[in-house]
Symmetry: none
Subunit: 189 residues, 2 copies
């Protein structure tokens, strides 16, 4: 709750079936304090009245359980967009898609979430898809220019990225170029 009043929150997901606290009064409080944070209500209550009440109280969107993750993410993006929050655009290569805003990747139909560092590294790679990204560039984008990152550490993240990008039987997209760095490209070449 304290979190929600911080400075840089763009979108809040609010579950109105919270055990102790009534979600709707949370929303009321939020609206008194902050004007610019978008709020999406997530609820199992799906009667027209519930929805109207939620929206009247100032929610920006109302999502009924159960819902698909895709839809939720798309709505988060849409709401953030409406509230004029600059939204990082997706990066794609072949059937791999990274949504930097949500730290999620999608390969085919499967999705996975990335940690901060994984996401930064994959962004650096996807932005230069096809090109070989030198190790130093990756370190720069993942940790910052004056970071002291061991080789073993970078290897670790490459490994964890690969395990999330590629499942057994799928084409490898993240290739290593010995002595230089890594590259996102198709199996061929």
């Amino acid at each position: 709750m304290k979190l929600a009043f911080g400075t840089d929150i763009d979108v809040i997901l609010l579950d109105v079936m919270l055990p102790r606290l009534d979600g709707l009064s949370v929303l009321r409080k939020l609206r008194e304090g902050r004007r610019n944070t978008a709020v999406i209500i997530v609820s199992a209550r799906d009667t027209g009245a519930d929805i109207v009440q939620g929206l009247d109280l100032g929610a920006d969107d109302y999502l009924t359980k159960p819902f698909e993750l895709d839809i939720l993410l798309a709505r988060v993006r849409a709401v953030a967009r409406r509230s004029h929050v600059p939204q990082p655009a997706d990066l794609t290569f072949r059937d791999l898609k990274l949504s930097p805003g949500t730290y999620q990747i999608q390969r085919g139909d499967r999705t996975a979430s990335l940690s901060r560092t994984e996401c930064a590294l994959l962004q650096a790679l996807l932005r230069r898809a096809g090109m070989v990204v030198p190790r130093e560039v990756l370190i720069e984008e993942g940790w910052g220019s004056e970071a002291d990152v061991s080789d073993a550490n970078l290897y670790f993240f490459v490994r964890s990225l690969r395990s999330k990008i590629t499942q057994p039987g799928e084409a490898e997209l993240l290739h290593t170029v010995r002595g230089v760095g890594y590259s996102i490209r198709g199996e061929d070449c």
Copy 2:
């Protein structure tokens, strides 16, 4: 449409409500042809499904009408900034092309990838295409000035470059100049 396939376009604004052509298939076509052009979809359709579909097809951003000009411009700037990665220029001679950024060469329709050293040497040669590049210069560019590189070693790399540049039946491009070095030029001369 022809315009979009030109060389130096950074960002494309795509209206998916185009009269005759479905905007999304335009996008599909674009993505098949060019990899690195950013695309922003502008649409009146703002349901989750529409947005998800647009982004899945590889759009970099999705903007719903109506929108303010400010927002559009800011997004264009953001996308352009992000997708604009400096790319080293290709080096070409006849039907041979080296893309230093990808460590790949293309001869005719075939492509091959080079190792770090191979790429450095071929760059040195192609930059001076038509001229004879002395052995010392090649060693300097491939290994650095104080490197101690045996003749046999340089021969090894010349050989492996040749095997990747020239397939049986193709014209030889990498010629030996006895006592001096090597030269990229046509079969004639």
